[in-house]
Amino acid sequence: MIYQVPWLSLLIWLPIIGGAILLFTIGESKEKASKWIALLIATSTLILTIPVYLAFDPLSHALQFVEQESWFESVKIQYYLGVDGFSLPLIILTSFITVVVILSSWNSVKHRVALYMSAFLMLCGLMNGVFASADAILFYVFWEAMLIPMFLVIGIWGGPNRVYATLKFFLYTFLGSVLMLVSLIYLGIEAKSFSIGDMQRLPMSLEVQHYLFWAFLIAFAVKVPMWPVHTWLPDAHVEAPTGGSVVLAAIMLKMGTYGFVRFSLPVTPDASMYWSETLIVLALIAVVYIGFVALAQKDMKKLIAYSSIAHMGFVVLGFFIVFSLIENGRFDAAVMGIQGGLIQMISHGFISGALFLCIGVLYDRIHSRKIEDYGGVANAMPKFAALFLLFAMANAGLPGTSGFVGEFFVILSSFQVTPWYALLAGTTLVLGAAYSLWMYRRVMFGEPKNKDIASLNDVTTREYCVLVSLAILVLLIGIWPAPLLDIMNASVEQLVNCGVKSKLSLEGMCSE
């Protein structure tokens, strides 16, 4: 019975259509109603993920909850949905973060509330679409379509320099996606199908793989973002409203690394292997270089944005070390590297989201993001101080929080390639703690800097509930990551044992 319901379609279209209806029927006049309706839709979407999670078979790496309809018959484009261990956690994350964002923007957004709310609902549906698509063109449509609401969110509710930021954001991401479209069309023609699975099974020469790999890489590297195409992110974050930053950091960045496991590694395994050292070096630069840059930031949002780049570097590192590990027969370590990357994606979603919310809480009260405008906030806001500290510590990778798990796995597995990778990646222990806790110290500790800070009100019940729910998840994954690992395990093992095998000769390829 449960498999006959089109769960994935519901997860995609409920928020999109709900958002559209909200925008066109309720309109801007009824602020309160539009907030409640948006919350209702977002919560329903989140609730819809529960049966999917419960009915998901973690022992299978195959796509589940498949919906397959012909769309453009002539060119074999399908409306083809399905989830596996890679996408399910991200869909749950997206649906959860949307509820969080709507709750957190409850009072801080003052104008065009309905449009704001519907933009986030649509974002939610579109991003679910990205993760649930099993057809490449469908994937691309969602991938590009989600830029529009994001563009609006930053463009309408953003800060003073939003035009520059949106332009930069748009240029970077659009440039990347265009190349991806070319590759997808090429692959579709070659495979005579736009099913991503067929693309993964398509044999290819190394030369073709090189082209495709780079086209994908540019698209995904911009999204992650990887050094040196990362500079749009700090600007976009600084200008984005809190909700925009949360979605950007918590989910949008993951689309890039999701692309790696969905396309780069399995579609072009030989090119990925060929370029893996380059990618590893870029990832390590992200960890070390960006770690230092984060240390020098004066704007809290920029600091967290840079820290996001450094943390995403771990994901890329974890994914691209698998080739040398497999070559040396270290399958367990390869599984650990990928699992580490995936856990880091989910964990960073919670932690960075929570940190941007924390900054939002402060911004709503003091209207500044500059670290120097704060000091001694802990005196007036003890509950907030405790939660903020938890997230700052999680950002620094403290064991017992989710931030530790991914970094731990990636460092442990990268050591097995060469100790140097682990040594460089391990610098995050010091750098991550330095930038996170130094910011925390300057903002939260000390005597209250001025009268405004001394008379701050602690978090409201609404803010408290949002932050506490994130805190519980951060702790839960840190203390007991097994359930999350188990969901992803089958897909990861399939990728390691099969997906990244050479495509250069038919014998070498995995027939499933």
Binding site: P228, F292, V293, A296, D332, I411, Q416, P419, A422, W480
Partner: protein, 654 residues
């Protein structure tokens, strides 16, 4: 048994959560009742377990509590390893923690953060117990960093004070440097042993000893075991504050005194010593690593002792003394006298906690003045504090029949017997260290409890003995400070109490050499009065008596080389200055440089805005037929898309 161990660990956590989350609801009384009962239950159960182990009714256990996660064939589990070593640590931790909890009721009486403080120290107890009971490296690392977190929270407990929040950040970061090494060590263990379980790692030690694997990391070939041991020891250097990662411990005195006693003297800082003892099967295989450990420990023992002489803050004197004593413990580990290291860890936990809590009592009496130059003759006003302090001091300097004598002498004898490279240097440091220990300890003792009354009239009038919640823990701690040494020395060092928990290769067994000269506890104690170390103790006492009681003018007017030495000591050998001026400045300017030059000038300036400008240049031409910036770029991209697409598709068209 599993339930007992779970209760020992979880009771303090339970108390901490209640006091932390519902502190306002349960009030001050509720907070201390719930946390003290939690730790109290832990303590009683720990002693029960210890009793069972001594009578061999409870065997050593290796339990799995739950599976944390599994990756391929690797299963990571949370579990407990109960043996004589962890049982000893359980008793030390819960007992000192309980004393500190009780003492806190008095010390923090008027503090607005009363509930928060109780929540933190109970949380610390939980983390420390997780650390000592761990049966695998993952959980060890969890406990390792969790105690670091609580230490951070407690050093910065009075977060309005700038010095406190400077100190806690410093402590955390310096510890993170150590943890970095520790984590690399753990990664190496997983790489070469394929597991993070102690039992599985130790089971493979023999095969590894046979094959002697090496690894190359740029700077030549390393023995794998040496690499692993040194990495793990770097972690220990952070947590147990060994030179050059010791810099955080003196600053940690910014925290309230009860936690200085609990965390920064008795328990957390000894985690490194405990860890190395726990890893004895590994360290035994690398003489290079053992020498490294011994030299670092001995250097710390001597250098930090010197710094104790010039401090004027009562707590900082004891902090430097702690550093120096930790150096003794670490030196013992290097000499393969792990049992002696743990023995000193235990005796030190009692008498150092006693000294700290007594200092706290003086601080309460002095209304939070901590400068010993403003004290003097306090014995007249605080009898219990005075007597217990004297007991602590005698134990610390190593007077025969007091606990510190046995453990310290065992270490010195073991190092003397060691034939490793560096053992002569270590022996020299430790013996001179005895003189230094005696000097700074009696200096502190005289300046606080004897000599002229130098406090202000106002302070003097209010000076009185602290309340009973403060003095009772002092008296209770004074008991083991006297008796624990002669009572437990024989079974701990020469018996087979630690058999199975600590392993020593026969050729390294320095305690065995020592045991041949050992003829029983009484003759050993009596003989103690005739040894070189005791002579140094007396010498230190006499020097302190002369310099600070008989002729106090002497130290005020230092000239020549003595004054430069004093200057170097005052600056703490410039470690802080170096870290602050070189390392921190380097980090910040690198960050700023990379940001401004790399990101803003190069990437954004040249490539991003540069290419935007290039596009803009072409757009000028296209502008005649188009308008609006974004469309320009989008158009250019579409053109590019078409070009690219045709380029790729071209060969296939033909």
């Amino acid at each position: 048994m599993e339930n007992t161990l779970l209760a020992i660990v979880l009771m303090p956590l339970f108390g901490s959560i209640i006091a932390g989350l519902w502190g306002n609801q349960i009030g001050r009384r509720g907070a201390h009742i719930v946390t003290i009962s939690g730790v109290g239950v832990s303590c009683v159960l720990s002693f029960q377990v210890m009793w069972g182990m001594i009578n061999e009714t409870i065997p050593s256990l290796n339990l799995t509590i739950y599976e944390w996660g599994s990756l391929g064939n690797l299963s990571l589990e949370i579990g407990f390893l109960l043996d004589s070593l962890s049982a000893t640590m359980l008793c030390v931790v819960t007992f000192v923690s309980l004393m500190v909890h009780i003492y806190t009721m008095g010390y923090m009486k008027d503090d607005p953060g009363y509930q928060r403080f109780f929540s933190f120290i109970s949380l610390f107890t939980f983390a420390m117990l997780m650390l000592v009971l761990s049966n695998n490296f993952l959980q060890l690392f969890f406990g390792w960093e969790a105690v670091g977190l609580v230490s951070y929270l407690l050093i910065g407990f009075w977060f309005k004070k700038d010095s406190a929040v400077f100190a806690n950040l410093k402590a955390f970061l310096v510890n993170r440097v150590g943890d970095f090494g520790f984590l690399i060590g753990i990664a190496a263990i997983l790489h070469y042993f394929g597991t993070l379980d102690y039992a599985n790692v130790f089971a493979q030690v023999d095969t590894l000893a046979m094959s002697q694997p090496t690894m190359s990391i740029g700077l030549g070939e390393w023995s794998v075991i040496t690499f692993i041991c040194i990495c793990l020891f770097i972690g220990a250097m952070g947590k147990s504050a060994q030179v050059p990662l010791h810099v955080w411990l003196p600053d940690s005195m910014e925290g309230p005194t009860p936690i200085s006693a609990l965390i920064h003297a008795a328990t957390m800082v000894t985690a490194g010593v405990f860890m190395v003892a726990r890893m004895s099967p590994l360290f035994e295989l690398s003489e290079t690593a053992l020498t490294f450990v011994m030299v670092i420990g001995a250097t710390t023992a001597l250098l930090m002792g010197f710094l104790g002489i010039v401090q004027n803050d009562i707590k900082r004197v004891i902090a430097y003394s702690t550093l120096s004593q930790l150096g003794y413990m670490v030196t013992a580990l290097g000499a393969s006298a792990y049992a002696a290291g743990i023995f000193h860890l235990m005796t030190h936990a009692f008498f150092k906690a006693l000294l700290f809590l007594a200092a706290g009592s003086v601080i309460i009496g002095m209304h939070h003045i901590q400068d010993i130059r403003e004290m003097g003759n306090i014995k007249k006003y605080m009898r219990v504090t005075w007597i217990t302090s004297l007991i602590g001091t005698l134990a610390l300097v190593g007077t025969p029949f007091f606990s510190g004598f046995y453990s310290k002498d065992a270490i010195i004898e073991a190092v003397h017997a060691s034939s490793l490279a560096g053992s002569d240097f270590a022996y020299f440091c430790l013996v001179v260290g005895v003189f230094i220990t005696s000097l700074y300890s009696f200096r502190l003792y005289f300046l606080v409890f004897h000599t002229k009354e130098r406090m202000s009239e106002h302070t003097r009038r209010h000076l009185q003995e602290s309340s009973q919640v403060v003095t009772v823990p002092l008296v209770i701690l004074a008991v083991p400070s006297i008796i624990i040494g002669w009572w437990t020395m024989e079974p701990l060092l020469f018996g087979d109490f630690f058999k199975g928990a600590i392993s020593v290769l026969p050729e390294h067994d320095t305690l065995a050499i020592f045991s041949r000269e050992f003829t029983g506890i009484w003759s050993f104690s009596i003989h103690g009065f005739q040894t070189l170390p005791f002579l140094f103790v007396v010498l230190g006492f006499v020097t302190a008596l002369y310099l600070y009681v008989i002729n106090p003018k002497f130290t005020e007017n230092l000239t020549g080389p003595l004054s430069s030495i004093r200057w170097i000591l005052d600056k703490g050998y410039f470690f802080d200055a170096f870290n602050q001026k070189v390392l921190v400045r380097f980090g910040l300017s690198t960050g700023k440089g990379l940001w401004k030059l790399g990101d803003e000038k190069l990437i954004d300036g040249l490539f991003v805005n540069g290419s935007a400008k290039t596009i803009g240049f072409f757009a000028e031409i296209v502008r005649k037929i188009q308008s609006g910036y974004l469309y320009h770029y989008a158009l250019m991209m579409l053109i590019g898309l078409l070009l690219g697409f045709s380029w790729i598709a071209w060969p296939f068209v033909e």
